[in-house]
Structures are given as structure tokens and as C-alpha cells.
């Protein structure tokens, strides 16, 4: 697959901080690419430079091998993290206003169908719920039938039901062979949607790959989780473990063996859980801090 976007040595420096520090990566045509990281990691700064909204301090962004020009916006779709839409317009009027900005656009009917807007077409945009609003913003981003669509934390602040509905919409978009670039701090979102991810922390890329290979590379087996009250015991056993909120997690390649060792040392197993590691665990392991802190 060809690279639709190439990011070369991209940096963004402000007077006192370096928001993005010399990062490089490529995004392949047709894949869903995730930028992950905690708040303040530089995800939004990175995606806004890729969108052409924010000028980089140094480095280069190539779209289909060429630098971004003013024609770029005819070909890409963008959904920002915080966007207001003009007041006193209905959903349908907002769609038709934006449709006039493009040389080519999908029909209102197609967009309404694609983004499940049927019930709210005549509603004032001020009266939309969080989920409805994000669906309208997604429709605006999809309006010009773009080759690549940028989504900056599209499900932040949505309830679990709305989040899952939104994932379904993105899944449908992926099936049309569109490239999706997504930032998120929800690891489950990245696992469910992304073909490839980049994990950022303090402006740098600390890990990249597919969610599965990253997990395989960093975790050998499953996690055995126990209440934090047994921590003193574990210390005396000299067993490797991770602290995560109110639990301790033991990495285990052989669950039988681990449980036997615990029993031999008279560790109470009440409240024990065994689960597969996820990206959240990976992130804690890589950075030593939690994603949402």
C-alpha cells in the first residue's frame, strides 16, 4: 500500500515549551492510523499540523508525495476536538452551507444515512446532544467524500453507548477504503478501530506498530490481578509486579505456576482476576504513568 501521508522530522516549538519534538512516521492509504497519548502529549498539535491548520516550526508533511497546498481542503475531511457550528441553523442547513464550499460533495441524503442523522435533520444545532453533535461534525468532515479523514478525539465526553455507535460509523467509513487518522486517549477505542498506532508522550513517539504486535512484544502471557493489600507479601516473595490504582498486577507466562507459587506463600486469592493485557497496560508500562491523569 502507498503512503498517503509522510511526516518528516516534524517539530512545533512555543516560547517556553516543545509541544512536538522531531517526529517522523508514514500513514498508508486505506488504513486507520491512531495517535495515542495522555492529555498534553502533543497529539492535537501533531494532527493540526497534519491538517494544515497549524504551521510547523520545522519539518515536512507530504500528502501523496507533495507538500500541502490550498487544494488540500478539497480532498481531506476534518473533525476538530472543540468545534462550534454557527448558531440558529438546522442540521440540514448546516450541511448544505458546507456543501457549497466544495467542488464536489456527497448528497445530503447520503450523509444523513451515513451518519445516522435522520431524526435530527430539522433540529437547531444548538439543541443537539453530544453524540448527535459529533455525528453532525463527522458528516461535515465526510461531506466532500475525502480521501483521508482526520478525527481529533471524536468520542471524548460521549457516553459508552454513543461511543460504540460512533465506532460503528467509523468502521463503515473504513470499509469504503478511506484513510482515517484518529487521536484518542481511550485505549479500547484504538484497539477496536486502529490498524496501526503511534504512542506519544511529551511530544515524542515512544512506540509504534499494530496494537497486537505491540502487546505481543511487551507482554508475555496474561495479567493476574490481586487487591493491593497483598503488596507486602509480594515484596517478600521477590515476585515482579506492577501497581495500578488499587490493584497489583503480576505478569504471568504460566498461570498455573503463578497461582501455585502464590498459594505456597499463603497469599489469599480472594478478588483475583486473570485478564489479557491491553494498550492501557502497555502505556503504563512504557511511561510509568496513567493515560488519564
Amino acid at each position: 500500500m502507498a503512503d498517503i501521508l509522510q511526516i518528516k522530522n516534524l517539530s512545533k516549538r512555543y516560547a517556553k515549551t516543545v509541544a512536538v519534538d522531531d517526529i517522523s512516521f508514514n500513514v498508508k492509504q486505506g488504513q486507520c492510523f491512531g495517535l495515542l497519548g495522555p492529555n498534553g502529549a502533543g497529539k492535537t498539535t501533531t494532527i493540526e499540523m497534519m491538517e494544515g491548520i497549524l504551521p510547523p516550526s520545522s519539518g515536512e508533511i507530504l500528502f501523496e508525495g507533495k507538500p500541502i497546498d490550498k487544494n488540500y481542503y478539497q480532498r481531506v475531511g476534518i473533525q476538530f476536538q472543540h468545534t462550534a457550528i454557527q448558531d440558529f441553523l438546522t442540521v440540514k442547513e448546516t450541511l448544505s452551507m458546507f456543501a457549497n464550499f466544495y467542488k464536489q460533495s456527497l448528497s445530503s441524503a447520503q450523509l444523513i444515512e451515513m451518519c445516522a442523522l435522520q431524526e435530527i435533520v430539522d433540529r437547531d444545532t444548538r439543541k443537539l446532544s453530544g453524540g448527535q453533535r459529533q455525528r453532525l461534525l463527522l458528516a461535515l468532515a465526510m461531506l466532500n467524500d475525502p480521501k483521508i479523514i482526520f478525527l481529533d478525539e471524536p468520542t471524548t465526553g460521549l457516553d459508552p453507548q454513543s461511543r460504540r455507535n460512533f465506532w460503528q460509523l467509523i468502521d463503515n467509513i473504513k470499509r469504503q477504503n478511506k484513510t482515517v487518522l484518529l487521536t484518542t486517549h481511550y485505549m479500547d477505542e484504538a484497539e477496536s478501530l486502529c490498524d496501526e498506532i503511534v504512542i506519544m508522550d511529551t511530544g515524542k513517539i515512544i512506540q509504534r506498530g499494530t496494537p497486537n504486535t505491540l502487546l505481543k512484544d511487551h507482554f508475555d502471557g496474561v495479567l493476574v490481578t490481586l487487591p493491593i493489600s497483598i503488596e507486602p507479601k509480594l515484596k517478600s516473595m521477590q515476585l515482579d509486579y506492577l501497581r495500578n490504582n488499587q490493584v497489583v498486577e503480576i505478569m504471568s507466562a504460566n498461570v498455573d505456576q503463578t497461582i501455585r507459587t502464590l498459594l505456597e506463600n499463603e497469599v489469599p486469592l480472594e478478588g483475583m482476576q486473570v485478564r489479557s493485557p491491553n494498550l492501557e497496560d502497555l502505556f503504563i508500562k512504557l511511561t510509568g504513568h496513567q493515560l488519564r491523569g
Binding site: 516560547a15 491548520i53 476538530f80 457550528i85 442547513e93 457549497n100 464550499f101 466544495y102
Partner: protein, 338 residues
């Protein structure tokens, strides 16, 4: 052009659907105009004013006649006959007399003119009489262009500047930036939208109150429209300049108030600057509202054509172009951190 009309259409809808703001645009000027017409409905001038044509005031003193020694009479000297006669028409002076040519002008509808005429003919029985019949200019006739102009100013400054700053703050502009829409298309649609709105609101208030208060309009309405459009354009452009960068409504609001208050006080909205110190008069010249009101009043009460107010029109046109150029050069879509 599609992009321009899409924004224009959306902005017009937003204005029309914001019922509270829409109502205020009409209620505010109407309340003021009617308020003033009731507050200042009688002429409380205590002096009798007599215009003297072609004779300077020092020469008047040399005329030996008791008429010129009458108490509570004020004499004003004029050199231009048509200007002076217009003052009689408008009841600004009670009578005009030309001692050299032995004639006088009096307004037959003026009660004060009748008294002054009776006294004059008593002392100068063989002067020729000319009669005019113009209606008195009430304070409301004079203040009405000021109130409408002030309303236009508020609508232009706040209706454009404040809205753009709000759009920038909440990210509406950023969303537009991420489309093929250009800054020029966006800004020109904002200007045209506001120009249509301001001219429509002003015309409705103008004709509505004219119907009830019968304003003094000597000049052509078309010329008045041109003055209004140019004045509104210059104030919209001024507002765009203020709103070209800031994303803080407090800052922009402060700046807009900082501009609108001096204009309200110094541009001759409420009172004439004729007797004001020269410094104040020259400061007032930097405000577009001053030029718009001076031109509008000259057309309405003196009945002049566009040529006579061309100076004001040129200033307004230059202001419009300079403000527009500066604001499109400085315009920023987003609140980019630096």
C-alpha cells in the same frame, strides 16, 4: 461565488432567527426617536433672533434706529442670501433683514416672526416684504439622523466585530478554515450581510417614524441612501479591523466600546459641534460617524446634493478601503498559541 452566498445566507438567517437581538435593533432607535420628540417638543428659545444680510455686526451698530436697541433681540450677520433665507424657512431665525436694499423676509407660519415683523415695520415702514413658509426644524428633526446613525454604528461595530470574535473563540472560524473557503470570501459575505441588514433596519425605522413624526427632509432620499451605505461600509470595515485577530470577547468588547462612546459623544449625535472648541472638532473628524451625520444632515435639512458633501463621501470611502485592506491583511482564523 457559491461559497460567498452560502455564508451570506447563513449569516442572514442567524440574524433573523435571533429574535431578541432582531427586536432590539428596531425597538432601540424607535424608543429614542419618540422619546426625544416628546421631551423636546417646544421651542424654549427666549431671544428673538434677527438675521442681517450684507452688513457686518459692527456696521449695524452705526445704524441709528431704536429697532436695533430693542431688548432681548439678537442680531446675526449673513453674507449668503440663500443660506440666510433657508434659516428663515426653518425658523432658525425669526426674520431676515437687508438694510442696504430695504427688504426683509419673514416666515408666515412663525408666530415669533409675526411679532418681530410688526416691530420692524413700525420702525422701517417702507421696506419690501418677502414671505417664506417653511416649517420649523424641531430638535427631533435634527436628532433623528443622529439616533439612526448611532444605531447603525452599534449594529455595524458590534454586529460584525463581536460576532467574528465569538466565532473565533468558539471555533466556528477554525472549522471554516479547514474548508476551501478563503478569508476574503468569508469577510466579504459578513460585510454584505451586515450592510443589507443595517440598511434594511434603518430604512424601516426611518420611514416608519417619518410616517408618524413627519421629518424635515429637503434633499433626495437616493443621496441619503448613498451616504448611509458608505457610512455603514466604513464602520463595518472598522469593526473588521478590530476583530481581525482577537479571540477574547472581553477585549474586543472593550475596544468596541472605547470607539463607540467617543463617536456617540463627539460625532454630533445629540448636539451640534458648531460651537465646540477647534480641538474637539478636529478630533471628531477622525470618526466615520461624524462624516456620515454631517453629510446626512446637510442633505436632509439644507437640501444639498452629493457634490456639496463630496468631501465627507471621499473621507468615508478612503476609510472603508484602508480599514478593509488592513483587516484582511491582519485577519487570523484561529486562536493559535504563539
Amino acid at each position: 461565488m457559491n461559497k460567498f452566498f452560502a455564508i451570506l445566507n447563513a449569516r442572514n438567517k442567524e440574524f433573523l432567527r435571533d429574535r431578541a437581538a432582531l427586536a432590539w435593533n428596531f425597538v432601540f432607535p424607535v424608543l429614542l426617536i419618540f422619546g426625544f420628540s416628546f421631551m423636546f417638543n417646544d421651542d424654549a428659545r427666549s431671544l428673538h433672533k434677527v438675521g442681517v444680510l450684507h452688513t457686518s455686526l459692527t456696521n449695524i451698530e452705526s445704524i441709528d434706529n431704536p429697532f436695533l436697541q430693542l431688548k432681548h433681540f439678537q442680531f446675526v450677520s449673513y453674507n449668503d442670501e440663500s443660506e440666510a433665507v433657508l434659516k428663515v424657512d426653518q425658523h432658525k431665525i425669526d426674520l431676515l433683514v437687508d438694510f442696504n436694499n430695504k427688504r426683509y423676509w419673514v416666515n408666515e407660519t412663525s408666530a415669533r416672526g409675526y411679532i418681530v415683523e410688526t416691530l420692524l415695520t413700525n420702525y422701517f415702514p417702507n421696506f419690501d416684504r418677502s414671505q417664506t413658509s417653511g416649517r420649523a426644524i424641531r430638535y427631533v428633526d435634527w436628532v433623528m439622523p443622529g439616533i439612526l446613525g448611532m444605531n447603525m454604528m452599534f449594529s455595524c461595530l458590534f454586529g460584525v466585530g463581536y460576532v467574528i470574535v465569538r466565532y473565533r473563540k468558539n471555533g466556528v472560524l477554525k472549522r471554516f478554515q479547514a474548508t476551501p473557503l478563503t478569508a476574503f470570501e468569508f469577510l466579504s459575505a459578513q460585510i454584505v450581510s451586515r450592510l443589507i441588514i443595517v440598511m434594511l433596519v434603518t430604512s424601516i425605522v426611518f420611514f416608519g417614524s417619518h410616517l408618524l413624526l413627519d421629518f424635515y427632509i429637503l434633499g433626495s432620499l437616493f443621496n441619503l441612501l448613498i451616504v448611509g451605505m458608505l457610512g455603514a461600509s466604513s464602520m463595518i470595515a472598522m469593526s473588521l479591523l478590530i476583530a481581525s485577530k482577537s479571540a477574547s470577547e472581553e477585549f474586543a468588547g472593550g475596544l468596541l466600546n472605547f470607539l463607540s462612546w467617543p463617536m456617540m459623544l463627539l460625532s454630533g449625535v445629540w448636539f451640534s459641534l458648531e460651537g465646540a472648541p477647534e480641538v474637539v472638532k478636529s478630533i471628531a473628524q477622525i470618526f466615520p460617524l461624524t462624516h456620515m451625520l454631517d453629510a446626512a444632515r446637510a442633505i436632509m435639512t439644507d437640501g444639498v446634493g452629493l457634490a456639496a458633501v463630496s468631501g465627507h463621501l471621499i473621507v468615508l470611502a478612503i476609510m472603508t478601503i484602508v480599514f478593509l485592506a488592513a483587516s484582511s491583511w491582519m485577519f487570523s482564523w484561529g486562536n493559535n498559541r504563539t
